[in-house]
Amino acid sequence: MNDKIYKILLFTAALIMPIVCGGVVYALVTDAYEAFEHFGFFKFLTSSEWSYTDGAEQYGALPFITGTLMTTLLALVFCIPFSLPVALFVGEYFKGTRIAAILSTVTDLLAGIPSIIYGLWGFYTLRPLIMALNISPQGSGILTASLVLAIMIVPYAASLSAEFIKMVPNDLKEGAYSLGATRAEVIRKVVFPVAGSGVFSSYVLAIGRALGETMTVTMLIGNTNNIPDSITSTGNSMASIIANQFGEASDLRFSSLIAIGLVLFFITAFINMIGKMMIKRARIS
């Protein structure tokens, strides 16, 4: 095989990416068009009606956008107190030791558990617990979904943060130690300022993960089509409304679900792009 054919072959293979991604956007846009045209783009995004009675169909994405934002942000809040210690454990306190390797294996395995099994665990273990603690009567809801979602994104945030914490140059830390700083002070005054942007970007990417998580949320969020009024109430996320209703939807409802998919696609793409850009910048500096 000569160089020319080889180059053409690789180029052709690489063409698959623009084709697939273009195909994704094209399919979403053409099928979402009907809903946007019928309701108006902004009206669709800001309407909180979701009813499919014949003749009076009304579809709006606001309850699901709210549900997605609430579960994601709450998951992030629950995730930080665990992922940050893991990152410090692996990247600073026990850097390079066997116990750190074991902890990273554990978090890697957590990342590997399929989301449907997280959903089962949340449903059969966490939900009864939430009911027993009288936090919410039905057990499922935004809070339950966010708790499990948090466990699911800890591995992503932790492993990436640890990578940046590991990269903090030793001479900086040694300089601080020689000035009499304690370890806690070194972490606060040297490690966090240096690794901070990298750690922050790992949380942005963790958000990107949580936004589109489907099965866990579908099994735990309670599946009601209203705007959740508190963190213990039930709701639906953008991903879970699609998972719940796509199979039975047709015409305008089908198009509305695709439109929600399109919005979700752009939100995750945007968040991931920001995260990746920040990581690139953090790696260079």
Binding site: L110, I242, F265
Partner: protein, 279 residues
């Protein structure tokens, strides 16, 4: 100093707490599922809800198993891998060979984009691409969804492995008179085999538990089937069915245990191989 100690203990405590869910999930699925993993569980298809109800009324264990799901998963995963592995490796090689080209940067960006796309969206898009024109759910549609999900993972692992190979390796090959294709095939790819293989294993373990993209493409099927143009089942789809059908709920745990053990073993194997080949 006291503050220092306190911080260390807090870090250790919360890091240890993070490990709890893994063991809690593993423990629960093991305890509730281990007695279902009999021979017939792997050789028989799912019972109908009626049969299961009869068995429950008679106080007997639910007959049948998840053979239809295992076979469906294998068929779809196999078809997806057959296309995704070579395409992904070639695409990854393209990225590693042309790091500076504009087009490669676009492809690299799109790979990130696709990797970050929620799986449920891959599901609805595949529905529009395949299920609508074929006028029905099929194993083909399911494998297309899995293919799209595997592709970016394989591209990335191939690209990264090829990039960390010492440049001298490629240069030596070229100096000996090999053309670029030969050097890639006979020198670079064999040297990168470990990393690429690990990447493929991880890609498989990532998509094997995917439920959402299969719900709208493969749909599910209650008997063992080998036809690729008809609806077909998969292990995660069965778990979802069992979850929603009160009569079949007993079967959830066996199926979950099987899936969980499979995924975790794949993960550990990949990690072990990566470590071994890196030395």
């Amino acid at each position: 100093m006291a503050k220092d100690k306190a911080m260390l203990w807090m870090v250790c405590l919360f890091a240890a707490l993070t490990a709890v869910p893994l063991f809690a999930i593993l423990g629960e699925v093991l305890l509730r599922g281990y007695d279902q993993l009999t021979w017939s569980f792997f050789t028989e298809p799912t019972p109908t809800a009626f049969k299961a109800m009869k068995a429950i009324e008679a106080g007997e264990p639910i007959p049948g198993g998840i053979a239809n799901g295992i076979i469906g998963t294998m068929i779809m995963l196999g078809m997806a891998a057959v296309f995704a592995v070579p395409t992904g490796i070639m695409c990854g090689a393209f990225l590693a060979e042309n790091p500076k080209s504009r087009f490669a940067q676009v492809v690299s960006y799109l790979t990130d984009l696709l990797q970050g796309t929620p799986s449920v969206i891959i599901g609805i898009v595949t529905y529009i691409w395949i299920v609508v024109p074929m006028k029905g759910y099929s194993a083909i549609a399911g494998s297309v969804a899995l293919f799209v999900m595997m592709l970016p993972l394989i591209i990335r692992s191939t690209e990264e492995t090829l990039k960390i190979l010492p440049a001298s390796l490629k240069e030596a090959g070229l100096a000996l008179g090999g053309n670029r294709a030969r050097v890639m095939l006979k020198v670079q790819l064999p040297a990168a085999f470990g990393g690429i293989f690990t990447g493929v294993l991880l890609a498989i373990s990532r998509v094997i538990g995917e439920t959402a993209p299969l719900m709208f493409t493969a749909l599910g099927c209650s008997f063992i089937r080998f036809a690729i143009d008809k609806p077909i089942s998969a292990v995660p789809l069965l778990i979802w069915e069992f979850f929603n059908d009160p009569n079949l709920q007993e079967l959830i745990w066996g199926a979950s245990l099987f899936l969980l053990l499979f995924v975790l073993t794949l993960n550990l194997t990949a990690k072990y191989l990566a470590k071994k080949w890196n030395q």
